[in-house]
Amino acid sequence: MRHTRIAGILLSAILVGGLAVPAGWAQQDPVKIGVIQPLSGPVAASGNYVRMGTEIARDWINARGGVLGRQIQLVIEDNKSDPKEAASAAEKLIVRDKVPAIMGAWGSSMTLAVMPKLEEYGVPMVVETSSAASITKKGNPWVFRISPPSEMEALGLGKYLGDLGVKRADFLAVNTDWGRGAVAAFGDILKKRGANVGAVEFMEQAATDMSAQITKIRGTGGDTLFLTTSVEQITLVLKQGQEQRLGRKIVTTGGSSSPDQLVRQAGAAAEGTYHILFFLPWFPEAMPDGKLAKAFVDEWTKRGHPFAGLTEGFRGHDGILTIVEAIRTAGKAEAKAIQAALWKVSLMGVNGPIKFAKDGPPGKESGQSQPSIFVVQIKGGKVTLPAFMAKK
């Protein structure tokens, strides 16, 4: 008898609660934003850093009261570094979770595989890392990129070539869209500036032994080696280069070289190397918005994330910030409105100003922002700003 009564009370409580809660939620249903990153597989480290950055942006925005009076919620999916999975993840985010905007998908081939889905459903995506030129050239009006394509990066480096003293350069790059694209873009700029290009060598993404390539490069008599790959392979190339007394000026491209990790893992082999970066966590005050950059570095450290991940993590933050800004501008969390609003967005991210210019075939242009590009050098086991950077 008593049990039935308790059960009855519980039941009515649940019923009342069940009715009341959705009613209460209705007005502050969170705004969902989809995130597609490689969270497992060979480039899992980078994908996870970007994810950590998105989470910081989420928490900051929510602490400030969210957007349109609603909190934001990230729906994070793993693309397993596989284009098929990236397309499935996009489909799931758009159809199941009904996200009005996505940020992703790290690698260019993953992004390219997602793009037809964006067109099919009409959902905008902010591309935070991919560097292939073709992404914004295909005439997909739902793509907005905040990372630089290799051409833009090479152009950015172009003005420092004289300071770096590059006369004859060799290339070693990962055999992917990114590596191939970087070799082409940087090769072009070098030739335009009158420098010679010697050996062009590639390595598989999972390769660990690059001694053959290094032996070959050692024989060309160049002065500089341009290196484009993940931080893991950069570490290996530096170590193996030291073992073989390669003795070159080394410039890494792509902005994901995590110089700190290099100092720690490659030690003396990293000494003197130059790195193109899109974020300077060691000198946040040198960034376009010093205060924001400083706050981001502090928050990252406070959360116990590895410092080395900052040069990837900021992309996640900037991507989410861009989407939220567009939602604010649009006044509603709807895909079409967000797409239109992205064109009007002008904000300051950790990297610097984000503002989209039109790129691609007329009528269906994609958006491309022009990110800030920096060069650092490892000197005395520390990351330093080279003199030519400091004066500019």
């Binding site: 793993d78 284009p83 489909e91 799931k92 390219l112 793009m115 191939r180």
Partner: protein
């Protein structure tokens, strides 16, 4: 009884776009259909002739690249690309089969792995032809048109679903026809005891090459469908994980049965997506691995043979 069941299943599949209201689920069904074709094709070799090909993704990739390249470079219509993909993949199957089917067992396995490895590296490094790791974006959707007469577009999801369903059904029928014919009996004889089969006049290598050709052609068809569906092809289509997925589907579904690969393909296409729903990304692949181990552990012969045994026993118990 069995016929009724099959009829109901067929009707459900035909009507799927009407009762599956969510395009995401239609997407999963399409992927399941493409992998059904792949699993059926692998089963022909693995299940019926007993030869394990661990390079099957190569034929899938060859089909995908043939279709994509013909459409993008030569403006071929999709249906012509599809036919070409089937032919080119079949031809590749003939070449590989002719060369490698002199070998058996583990050695055959390793040649097929190597073949897929080489093809992958070619797709990455032959920039002029394949655009290398940058892949081929912008593959047109599947459309059949005769100028001025009629036009049939498979651009929408439900339409593409019917296309995949049709090709999968055709692949199933080809397998069934082949397996129940004299050729199929030769396959099985070769699997069970090759020396004995040859002593009664079955030319082992010839039949195995035939199986390889049909199997590769079917995988090429799946590749072509995949290219026109995702509309983007990159060297990842050759990756070993695709072959592993096919093997999982065939063996866990029940190799050497007709229904096994179909059940396996549907099960193991839905599983990762279902895991997306129920857990966060950290646990998805870990759980996938554990579930796979459990499946093999409790159903070592595969799902379909286990079901058949169970049904037979139930029937036997009933008076």
């Amino acid at each position: 009884m069995r016929r009724v069941g099959l009829g109901v299943l067929g009707a459900l599949l035909l009507a799927a776009p009407f009762w599956v209201w969510n395009p995401y689920y239609v997407h999963i069904l399409i992927m399941a259909g493409i992998f059904t074709i792949l699993a059926l094709s692998l089963n022909l070799l693995l299940g019926y002739t007993g030869q394990l090909s661990l390079g099957h993704a190569a034929f899938f990739g060859i089909g995908a690249y043939t279709s994509a390249l013909l459409a993008l470079r030569l403006d071929w219509p999709a249906w012509a690309g599809f036919v070409a993909a089937v032919l080119v993949a079949g031809l590749a199957g003939y070449g590989v089969g002719k060369v490698s089917l002199k070998l058996r067992g583990a050695y055959f396995v390793l040649v097929t792995i190597s073949f897929a490895g080489v093809i992958y590296l070619v797709s990455v490094n032959w920039m002029e032809l394949t655009n290398g790791p940058l892949g081929l974006p912008g593959v047109p959707p599947f459309e059949v048109a005769v100028a001025g007469l009629f036009e049939l577009s498979f651009r929408s999801k439900p339409a593409f679903y019917y296309l995949v369903l049709g090709v999968a059904a055709l692949a199933y029928l080809v397998c069934r026809r082949l397996v129940s014919s004299r050729i199929g009996r030769a396959f099985i004889a070769l699997r069970e005891n090759e020396a004995l089969a040859e002593s009664v006049g079955i030319d082992g290598t010839r039949y195995l090459v035939l199986a390889a050709v049909v199997s590769a052609a079917m995988a090429g068809a799946a590749g072509s469908l995949y290219a026109h569906y995702t509309r983007f092809v990159s060297p990842e289509v050759f990756l070993f994980t695709y072959t592993v997925t096919m093997v999982i589907m065939v063996v866990a579904g029940g190799k050497g049965t007709l229904a096994g690969p179909v059940v396996g393909a549907v099960l193991f296409t839905v599983l990762p997506e279902a895991l997306r729903e129920v857990t966060s990304w950290q646990w998805q692949m870990l759980l996938y691995g554990v579930l796979l181990i459990l499946t093999v552990f409790f159903l070592p012969k595969g799902v379909v043979p286990a079901l058949e045994t169970w049904l037979r026993e139930r029937r036997a118990i009933r008076p």
